[in-house]
């Protein structure tokens, strides 16, 4: 009887313990395991994301592309990492001042360039054209820029620091207008103003120089776009009397790229260019064989010239060789490119190679001639044409020896 009496409460107690186990402890353990699994999954997911993120690698560079005659600045992105990168944004910054550079591509100020649907697979490269709109801005002159490219995973890739000025000169202001002031008076302030008339743009638009010596000359280079400009010279704030009728000057770039204000207004006159033929006096040739020698032709601007001359035209057809039958002599001349020559200065204009074939033994005379108007130039200040008005020749003795 005692056994059966205690069995009832033991059974009830056991049932309650089991109920507690199944309704609270086991669900709690399951919940704990589940929570741990969720956290582990999230942690693992983050670890994979961080690994992917740190595996991203991209090179950022600014390049110049040429399509026909049109040049453009583009950002060149190369994915040199093992995973695909989605660039989402480009910042253009002033690296020296740690500031955003304005990008007025869409009219208003946007601090960055938003990229859409750009995907760079491993090893792939792409160019971003949008930077061109932002960079073609005079505000970027004298700036050291840096590009920051932000990826979708939150990595930031930067370019090298790039001094943009030289690139902008080429793109924003493709033409260079030179303004020369000749014969300034000591102690006076001279101001050159370049004012666009219409759509042109110039940089700088104003330049001031104080003459520190009498008859000082100065030349200013102004970057411009194509267009019409009014170029004015002011002496101590007013137009100088010496230039009445010549100041201001209205010019059209690129038809005119030089303006000269000569305060003494010297009457320039062209002087003949002198030609110097540098050739051997005597050339020895073996009978029946060929011999080649060089003749160098120099041009000299006389001391009496009042301005430098830019040699622009050299006519190789103006070279003549007489004295030998045409079958025994031939020549070819290579002219040098355009260059500027100053008064009393001498420079080489062309080199001719002469080939002579030896005939019967003896002595013959070859005359090397430079005809008039073979070498021509333009006066830098006056625009006058300078040339060799005279004919120049040089005798060369050809001595044929027995074989």
């Amino acid at each position: 009887m005692h056994k059966s009496k205690s069995a009832v409460s033991a059974i009830v107690g056991g049932l309650i313990v089991l109920a507690i186990l199944f309704t609270t402890i086991i669900p709690l353990v399951i919940l704990l395991q589940n929570s741990y699994a969720i956290f582990l999954h999230e942690s693992n997911s983050r670890r994979i994301f961080d690994t992917d993120r740190s595996s991203e690698s991209m090179l950022v560079d600014l390049i110049v592309t040429t399509t026909g005659l049109i040049k453009n600045l583009k950002l060149f992105l190369t994915n040199d990492g093992p995973i695909t990168i989605n660039p989402v944004r480009i910042w253009i910054i002033d690296a020296n001042n740690q500031a955003i550079l304005p990008c007025s591509g869409s009219g208003g100020f946007t601090p960055y360039i938003a990229l859409t649907d750009i995907v760079l697979r491993p090893g792939e490269n792409k160019t971003i054209d949008e930077v061109s709109n932002c960079l073609m801005n005079p505000a970027l002159y004298n700036k050291v820029v840096q590009f920051l490219v932000v990826s979708e995973r939150g990595r930031i890739f930067s370019s090298m620091r790039i001094n943009i000025t030289s690139l902008l000169n080429e793109f924003v202001y493709p033409y260079t207008l030179t303004v020369s002031i000749i014969n300034m008076k000591r102690g006076r302030d001279y101001t050159v103003e370049v004012e666009p008339l219409g759509e042109g743009d110039a940089n700088p638009r104003k330049f001031t120089h104080k003459a520190t010596a009498s008859n000082e000359n100065v030349t200013v280079a102004v970057g411009t776009t194509a267009g019409t400009y009014k170029v004015t010279l002011l002496e101590n704030g007013v137009p100088p009397n010496e230039l009445n009728g010549y100041n201001p000057q209205i010019i059209n770039v690129p038809d005119t790229t030089a303006v000269i204000f000569n305060l003494k207004r010297v009457e320039y006159s062209a002087v003949p260019l002198e030609v110097i033929i540098d050739a051997p006096n005597k050339v020895f040739v073996t009978q029946g064989e060929e011999e080649a020698f060089d003749v160098r032709i120099y041009v000299q601007l006389p001391k009496t010239a009042l301005e430098p001359v830019e040699i622009k035209f050299i006519d190789v057809g103006g070279i003549e060789l007489v004295g030998l039958p045409s079958g025994r002599i031939q020549h070819s001349c290579d002219p040098y490119g355009s260059f500027t020559i100053y008064p009393d200065d001498r420079k080489i204009t062309m080199t001719c190679t002469v080939e002579v074939k030896g005939a019967d033994p003896g002595q013959e005379k070859l005359i090397f001639t430079v005809k008039p108007e073979t070498i021509k130039g333009i006066g830098v200040y006056s625009g006058l044409t300078y040339s060799n008005t005279e004919e120049y020749s040089r005798d060369i003795v050809i001595k044929v020896r027995k074989k």
Binding site: S9, I16, I25, L31, F39, E42, R89, V150
Partner: protein
Amino acid sequence: MRLAKLAVSYLISVAIMTAVTIALGLFLWGIIGGWAGVSALDIIEETNKGVAQQRSLLIVEFVDLQRKIVWVSNPGKVDLILLSCIVYPKGSSPPSRDFIELAKAEASMNAPLELDSSKCIFPSSLDPSRPYIVEIYAIASTIYNPSNIMENIQWAILVRSDA
């Protein structure tokens, strides 16, 4: 008679024993059930906070020292509430910070969030040639309690970046 007396006491004693066992069992069940419920809520809450922190990510894209603007973005999986932003010279100790709700950074890389000098504390004078540090505290919006900002501050993330 004696047998009848014994029978009554047996039934009574079984009933009493059973009742006591049931009462104690239910009491124990209640206690354990309550404890388990509270523990389960704690586990869920802690897991949520841990997950929220794992999902939190904030980057400083650029600091414009001239205009005094910090641009940040959120490449993570959860919206973030920015609680503090300070910029100070590298090498010096950071200034004291206050935790207030500055802005919400959505979990998207579509556009960066701009924090100007009204939201971010900058030094009174800035020299762009010197290096600076930007420090931002942010907390996942899922565990942020606007009525008690400091409630889950230990689950916030601290972003420290060179400026």
